[in-house]
């Protein structure tokens, strides 16, 4: 009996809210409707499945980075679930989240009761081809949290080989939801991104001998990223940057090659791309102090390190900002430090 109680509360709440909702939410519905085509709506999800609805969704709940992507095209979700605090999440930390319900700030935990009260008509989360699941519904997520999928259809763009593809995917999702992607303020982001790519390509082409490696130092090991599983690194490679492909990635978790600290100097790039999720300007000096072999990587010793936006990018704007920083680092890098 006690197990039923939360469900009853949800049911009761949604009935009550559905009752008064038609009156109280008509305001927001109208503003959305002014831009949104009223439907029917359909979108081809990252899994290949086409999701259809009679009316274009307007009450969207989105995972953190996906929410940032939609917001960059002017589509404001009603609720967000994040994997960490929304004040530190790299996708969200600079966004104005007023009026958006925060449904979770920890991986695998979503407040479905609160989500139900929002009466969503669409859930947006990246599609992970390897795990065959959307963000928020992967293996390991609370079974209770996964009930979010029962509230509305779930769609997302496939995570894969390119952040550009991801950003384009969300651009077309936003368009289908009624976003005016040609509006000057919105189009400016994409323009800035295209300029950043051009500048990046020029900087890379000017230093043909430059090699970089993406690394994440940890207390017991040094992790070297495998670009094959890091879409932003594949993008950088496609624009001409020589990102080292580690030769023996961990078979069980091929995102990285794990090096013991004894083997820290196995790769000698000219520039180190440092996992941006735990990079500070002081990091290089700290790790040089802490790990006797960190400075045996010549680039580290020379201070040739730059932040790498690891595994989080979703928008043209964020990618442009990160690319501008990387371009600066490449311009100042010495292509003869490493081997």
């Amino acid at each position: 009996m006690s197990a039923w109680r939360p469900l009853l509360v949800v049911a009761a709440l949604s009935v009550v809210l559905a009752g008064c909702g038609s009156a109280s939410t008509s305001g927001t519905a109208q503003t959305a409707a002014s831009a949104a085509p009223s439907g029917p709506w359909s979108f081809t999800d990252g899994s290949g499945k086409t999701v259809k609805a009679d009316k274009t969704p307007t009450r969207i709940i989105a995972h953190a980075g996906e929410a940032a992507a939609l917001m960059s095209f002017g589509i404001k979700p009603v609720g967000i679930y994040a994997d960490e605090s929304v004040t530190t999440d790299l996708n969200l930390k600079d966004l104005d989240l007023t009026g958006i319900e925060i449904l979770g700030q920890e991986w695998g935990k979503i407040d479905v009761e609160k989500a139900a009260a929002l009466r969503p008509d669409l859930i947006v989360g990246d599609w992970w081809p390897a795990e065959k699941a959307h963000s928020g519904f992967e293996e390991g997520v609370d079974e209770k949290s996964k009930k979010l999928a029962e509230l509305a259809p779930v769609v997302g763009v496939a995570q894969g080989k390119s952040i550009v593809d991801l950003a384009e995917g969300y651009e077309s999702l936003a368009k289908s939801l009624g976003a005016d992607v040609a509006a000057p303020a919105i189009a400016a982001n994409k323009k800035r991104f295209e300029d950043a790519v051009a500048a990046f390509k020029t900087a890379v082409a000017a230093k043909p001998g430059l090699t970089v490696a993406a690394m994440s130092p940890a207390d017991d090991k040094l992790y070297v990223a495998n670009p094959e599983y890091a879409p932003e690194l594949l993008d950088l490679q496609s624009w001409g940057l020589k990102v080292i492909n580690p030769d023996t990635p961990d078979p069980g978790f091929p995102y990285w090659e794990n090096l013991s600290w004894e083997n820290a100097d196995k790769y000698q790039p000219d520039l180190i791309l440092w996992d941006g999720r735990n990079y500070k300007p002081t990091s290089n000096a700290e790790w040089g102090e802490k790990q006797p072999t960190w400075f045996k990587i010549k680039a580290a010793k020379a201070g040739a390190v730059a932040a790498w936006p690891a595994y989080w990018l979703h928008t043209y704007g964020d990618f442009a900002t990160e690319l501008e920083k990387l371009t600066e680092a490449i311009k100042t890098a010495d292509p003869d430090i490493g081997d």
């Binding site: 207390d219 017991d220 790990q291 072999t293």
Partner: protein, 342 residues
Amino acid sequence: MSNSTHVTRRASALGPGLAVLFVALALVAFLSVTQGSRSIGLLEVLHALGSLNSDVSTDSTVTLELRVPRTLLGIVVGAALGVAGAILQGVTRNPLADAGIMGINSGAAVFVVFAVTVLGVRGAGVYVWFAFAGAIAALVLVYAIASLGREGATPVKLALAGAAVTAGLASVTAGIVMTNVDALNELRFWQVGSLAGRYAPILTGVAPFLLLGLVASLGFGRVLNGLALGEDVARGLGQHVTRTRAAAFAVVAVLAGAATAACGPIVFVGLVVPHAARFICGPDYRWILPYSMLLAPIVLLLADVLGRVVAAPDELQVGVVLGVLGAPAFVGIVRYGRLSEV
């Protein structure tokens, strides 16, 4: 009287046995400095050891700043865990006793998590002291709870108090870690017992405590022999049972606390090695203690070298290797050994 001749006969073999173990430990230590996940030629190793200059090459840095401290740490930590386990098994007359079931690991973990979440402390070099304090606090708590009541800290009450405190502290840790990703990440590094990533500062930090504890521990042979006969007999022989127990716990707290603080919880060494020592020496703690003290670092270093060599250029944590190898070893001892003769 036949018993005493038996003991002297044993002693004549056990003395040289200790010398053999000592040589074996030296060999394993040599192995630990020369072998690893990076292949370094013997000549380079010897050259580095001879010059004591770690700036010449990466090989010399690895030898002098990674492998030498790691090996020394493995020796003192292994010795400490072995002896602490032997003393605990003797003083609690519980064949399953080791530092883990007396709450040491869970106490250290709670303090590490507390340091990370509340005080914002980062890095192995700092929270080693929190882990040490936590290990000691947990052991004191276990002893205090077990001491309640007229008969004092009996073996049964110690085991129960240890289990209760471990469970309680572990759930506090789990509660904090569930809601704090930072704490989880820091704890993840600490919680798999490992000799990797620990360098000279940690060694010099804990070594004085460990050496002091090791010297003190050797004085417990006779009183543990007394306790092994049962509390009443020990009292009849003129022992202060309560005082002995308290002193033994203090030594264990320092040894296992500092060892766990430095390397994280390392399983099986403290549990299995004293049984192996008892298997060799018989029931006399005056031999079991020094045998445990030499056998344990041999086992620990061998496991560590194995973990470093099999997965190169990666490494397996020694805690993982010991877990995999320790279980069958323990089964072997249970099958052929004298587990009940604690």
